[in-house]
């Protein structure tokens, strides 16, 4: 039998791995309690947790969280579908690359939050402006990761498929797409993080609901423990979504050694 080290234990292993977070939490609580930092700038963790439990009893909190999640999920999903389609098309058809390649390169390094005022002008204060911004921000990393993955498809796999009777469309669907999956999944992780950045920043600036809105409202109202609680909510949601994506990635790429 293999010796079961502490790191490999299903429960204890997790505690050991995330123990730096416990240290951080302790440092937070201590620095504020001992007066090392101003209580307004950094309320003690315990106070923030109390505010968090208040939120958890409040139905409107779930409404705001749901709105943010819906916007992020919609924008991200659209970006994944269109980005993968565009990226693989760019790698497969020269004219698509010639048309969209320069546009993608031009807009890739641009901070998408700079477009927030413009998206509001185009799509108003509601969902659509946020969804569009998240979609736009996630589209570029999804397009580039799909393009790079597709371009790296091993030539002998394409040749094998051809000699087994695959048409051009068959080769794209059966060979290029699965060969791009490792790169697509990596791009998705980047896009997921961006979706969180963009829903918070767009809701912070102008919105009537969502967690970003809640951060602004509690902050403006001087309810700093509540504000920190909302921030912690966003952090936890991001962490869980990232873990979920990693689990999905392992499942999708289970054929890898």
């Amino acid at each position: 039998m293999r010796p079961l080290t502490l790191e490999k234990h299903p429960v204890l292993g997790g505690i050991v791995r995330y123990s730096p977070l416990l240290l951080l939490a302790a440092a937070w609580e201590a620095s504020s309690r001992l007066g090392l930092v101003n209580e307004y700038a950094l309320p003690p963790l315990s106070t923030v947790l109390v505010a968090w439990f208040q939120f958890l009893k409040d139905p409107s909190f779930y409404y705001h969280a749901g709105m943010s999640l819906m916007r992020a999920a919609t924008g991200l999903s659209l970006a994944i579908v269109l980005g993968v389609t565009l990226g693989i098309s760019m790698a497969s058809f020269r004219w698509v690359e010639a048309t969209f390649g320069p546009i993608v390169q031009m807009f890739y390094p641009m901070p998408k939050s700079a477009l927030i005022p413009l998206t509001i002008l185009w799509f108003g204060l509601g969902h659509l402006s946020k969804i569009f911004l998240i979609f736009l921000g996630c589209l570029l990393p999804m397009t580039l990761s799909s393009f790079n993955g597709a371009r790296g498809t091993d030539k002998v796999l394409l040749w094998s498929a051809s000699s087994l009777g695959a048409s051009r469309w068959n080769r794209i669907r059966d060979v290029v797409f699965p060969a791009s999956l490792p790169s697509i999944m990596a791009g998705m992780r980047t896009a997921l993080a961006l979706a969180f950045v963009l829903f918070v920043s767009s809701e912070l600036i102008i919105a009537n609901e969502g967690l970003g809105y809640l951060i602004r409202m509690t902050g403006d109202g001087g309810q700093y423990p509540a504000m920190f609680a909302v921030v912690l909510t966003v952090v936890s949601m991001g962490f869980l979504a990232d873990r979920l994506l990693i689990a999905i990635t392992h499942r999708v790429l289970r054929w890898r050694a």
């Binding site: 002998v156 000699s163 087994l164 009777g165 695959a166 060979v175 050694a257």
Partner: protein
């Protein structure tokens, strides 16, 4: 006189190198491969033997009608010419069974028949029990057997083999050579086999085509179909003869790029 499976008439082929210059890879190659025969293409690295194989397969584009397969000029890959690569080229995201059925899916073979044939082929190549394994979980020899089964599944009249045993250890290699010989004898397929191993070429084939260094030309075609009591001795002397020929080419061949 047997009919020609592959007829090559005065084929020359050049490709564009990375610096844009045109490199002549094959010069004035003429060759007839009879139906059901086993022919090896032998020569030093960079002599264009694999290029010749890819041209017969239709994977590399060439102008003109210098290559005929079954009397028809080659314009692209097709399921009449199956290929086996040195690096196996299995679809890593498909299981052994998934790889073997792929060609039959593209040929619209009914599902029940597809599975029947695939299971039989997998048994024939000695991979029974590994149907659900991914290529990454198999040894080199097992991968190459799966690749051969995948190619045989679409029942190509011609088998193109590009140094198929070059990546295997000596022992596995010997076993695979024996298996290939049996498959060839049992199916009567035409085999065109690229190798740089003189002994392998003489042992397996009826004819050995010795090629010169770049630009590749056919230096000599040697009959190596020995039968009867003196076969072993004659194989030995043919190996010696051909080895002398190849050594001359190796001697002033450019260093392997």
């Amino acid at each position: 006189m047997k009919t020609a499976a592959v007829a090559i008439n005065r084929l020359s082929y050049s490709y564009a190198a990375s610096d844009g210059r045109s490199v002549l890879a094959l010069s004035d190659v003429s060759l007839v491969v009879e139906q059901g025969s086993f022919v090896s293409l032998l020569g030093p690295s960079g002599c264009g033997k694999s290029t010749l194989l890819y041209l017969i397969g239709g994977f590399l584009k060439q102008e003109g009608t210098a290559i005929h397969v079954d009397g028809v000029p080659v314009t692209g890959p097709g399921p009449d010419r199956g290929i086996v690569f040195q690096q196996f080229a299995l679809f890593p995201w498909r299981t052994v069974l998934g790889n073997v059925v792929y060609g039959m899916e593209k040929q619209r073979v009914p599902r029940a028949e597809r599975l029947d044939r695939a299971h039989k082929l997998i048994r024939d190549v000695g991979l029974a029990g590994f149907e659900a394994s991914y290529p990454s979980q198999l040894s080199g020899g097992m991968r190459q057997r799966a690749a051969i089964a995948r190619t045989l599944a679409v029942d190509p009249a011609i088998l193109l083999m590009d140094e198929p045993f070059g990546a295997l250890d000596a022992q596995t290699r010997g076993i695979m050579q024996e298996q290939l010989r049996q498959i060839w004898q049992a199916t009567g397929k035409t085999v065109i086999f690229v190798t740089h191993d003189v002994r392998e070429a003489v042992y397996l084939s009826q004819k050995v085509v010795v090629m010169s260094k770049r630009p590749g030309t056919i230096k000599e075609i040697i009959d190596t179909s020995f039968e009867g009591s003196e076969a072993d001795a004659r194989v030995q002397s043919a190996v010696e003869d051909i080895w002398q020929q190849v050594k001359l080419e190796f001697a002033d061949a450019p260093a392997h790029a």
